[in-house]
């Protein structure tokens, strides 16, 4: 059976992409010039082995960067060990901010 070729008018089902307004973080979030004498916070999201990976990064920082202070956030406050919609509420962000880290190194995924 030969199917009929038709002229179709169709609607694209993708929908326009609506991204939230981009925040101007370029200036606020400038990188430190050095980590010497600075605080580096390590952020684990509870996924398997992320803590071991980050701990090793912490060891290497301590070995190779003079006077760096490494903080494992999950040991300081287990509530930082979260992912999902309710994770990392404002009070947790504030706690991390109060530690004055030069950078936070986090692990993502499995």
């Amino acid at each position: 059976m030969t199917e009929i070729v038709q002229q179709w008018e169709l609607i694209n089902p993708e929908g326009a992409i609506v991204l939230p307004p981009r925040e101007k973080i370029e200036i606020k979030s400038r990188r430190p010039a050095t980590l010497e004498g600075k605080t580096v916070a390590l952020l684990w999201n509870a996924k398997s082995n992320g803590d071991f990976f980050l701990s090793r990064v912490g060891e290497l920082l301590a070995e190779q960067v003079k006077d760096v202070k490494v903080i494992k956030l999950w040991e300081v406050d287990p509530a930082t060990k979260q992912y999902g919609p309710g994770a990392f509420p404002a009070e947790i962000v504030k706690k991390v901010k109060n530690l004055k880290p030069a950078i936070v190194i986090g692990s993502q995924g499995d």
């Binding site: 070729v5 179709w8 008018e9 082995n49 919609p85």
Partner: protein, 433 residues
């Protein structure tokens, strides 16, 4: 993504992502309003390998981590202007119906099943099912952040073969999915096999012919199947969560990622009050309840008393939660939502023996247990007052009776099911026509 919240507070971050999760991490970032973040990509996997392998992976990545920590600068690229959300783009195409389906599949506009071509006429007819304005944005569907207007919902409903009278129900479902507590992005991108579940209560069940009795999760019912298909079309096409683009990272996925779990409560066979009445709605209200989860069959054939039923089900439930890492004491990021979907016959036995829903919940909390050694220790945070544990210590799977939702669905027979919640929470909403 937690790091984006820190970036917004002016705290520089660096994210370690594995090769399998880089696209998802970047898509998640884009949806938070952060223009750019630094990533160091390491070979997948991170989990399930030895400490020595993890150490070697960290050692190999460390020079890049150090370099990126100091030298990375945000690109801050401008977002290309997007087309308006309404009206959706129209285009001409010449071909057979088969060609239309080939086109939609190749463009990522279908899930492999045939679709009904979304012509303006069909969409206009679908929009007659609602008084809502077609330009209204119902939901910006993550992680792609596609704008789901009422018109676009009608497009997908038409593609899935829905009837116009389904529109109010579909609009309510979209309103439920967009709730932050549902965590659509978590359920749509997880490595797990969880899928959207919709349960319907109220007179609308019979008005629309929604299946709630024998085989209510199977095929053969137009309302359940077409609305279940609509949900996942929207998630994939508007939300962009598909495996082929490495955004949906489900290891196996589920057939319910094609046709979502969609069923009605069998209120006629429910010896207790229906679920929506238990939650404070009137019996005459039409209500939907959504959750992300996996249906796990609870097969039993020979129980004669309520206690026998619950003993058997508790044994199943103790095992069923093991792989999820500890149940009652499970850690953050994990759902504590569960549905026990009782077959009418099992509900009748329990009710005849005097079991109330609350008594059933309490029994299950006390009896559904698993060995501590079978849990994921880092996620199974034993309370201090629990006492010492060994790998053989039995720990409860459920923390509180109220975590267990009890509903009745299906037809004659003994088999029940357990829906293990994945990401997010249960959301219940009144359907407004």
């Amino acid at each position: 993504m937690n790091q984006s919240k820190l970036e917004k507070e002016g705290i520089p971050t660096l994210t370690i992502a594995t090769t399998a999760f880089t696209e998802l991490a970047r898509a998640s970032m884009a949806g938070t309003g952060v223009p750019d973040m630094s990533f160091v990509v390491v070979e997948h996997p991170m989990g399930g390998i030895s400490k020595e392998q993890i150490r070697a992976k960290a050692d190999a990545a460390f020079p890049e981590i150090l370099k990126m920590a100091l030298e990375w600068r945000p690109q801050g690229a401008e977002v290309p202007p997007s087309n308006p959300a309404y009206p959706a783009e129209r285009f001409k195409f010449a071909g057979t119906i088969e060609d239309v389906n080939k086109l939609t599949f190749e463009k990522g506009w279908s899930l492999g099943l045939p679709i009904v071509p979304p012509t303006p006429e069909r969409v206009k007819a679908m929009l007659k099912g609602t008084s809502r304005s077609p330009h209204e944005v119902l939901w910006v569907v993550p992680p792609r952040n596609g704008a789901l207007t009422v018109e676009l919902l009608a497009v997908h409903a038409a593609m899935a073969g829905c009837k116009p009278e389904y529109m109010p129900l579909l609009i309510t479902i979209m309103n439920a999915f967009r709730e932050e507590s549902y965590d659509w992005i978590g359920t749509a991108t997880t490595t797990g096999s969880e899928a959207p579940m919709v349960m319907v209560n109220g007179p609308i069940l019979k008005e629309l012919g929604i299946a709630y009795d024998s085989g209510c999760l199977a095929g053969g019912n137009h309302a359940n199947v077409s609305m279940g298909y609509t949900i996942n079309l929207i998630g994939a096409v508007v939300g962009g969560s598909v495996a082929s683009t490495h955004i949906d990272r489900s290891v196996l996925g589920s057939r319910a990622n094609i046709i979502a779990y969609f069923f009605g409560e069998n209120e006629d066979a429910n010896p207790w009050e229906p679920y929506h009445v238990e939650k404070g709605f009137k019996p005459t209200d039409n209500v939907i309840t959504v959750m992300s989860g996996d249906f796990i069959p609870l097969q039993e054939l020979h129980c004669r008393t309520g206690t026998e039923v619950l003993t058997t089900l508790s044994s199943y439930l103790g095992g069923g939660a093991r792989c999820f890492g500890g149940g009652a004491f499970v850690g953050p990021g994990s759902s504590k939502s569960y549905f026990l979907v009782l077959s009418p016959e099992r509900a009748a036995i329990l009710a005849k023996d005097g079991w109330t829903k609350n008594a059933i919940r309490k029994y299950i909390v006390e009896h559904a247990k698993t060995q501590y050694g079978a849990t994921t220790p880092k996620w199974c945070a034993i309370p201090k007052d629990f006492g010492p544990v060994t790998p053989e210590t039995l720990v409860p799977v459920f923390g509180k009776p109220e975590e267990i939702q009890i509903v009745v669905a299906g037809g004659p027979g003994t088999h029940s099911a357990y829906v293990r919640g994945g990401h997010g929470s249960i959301v219940t909403k009144l359907i407004k026509k």
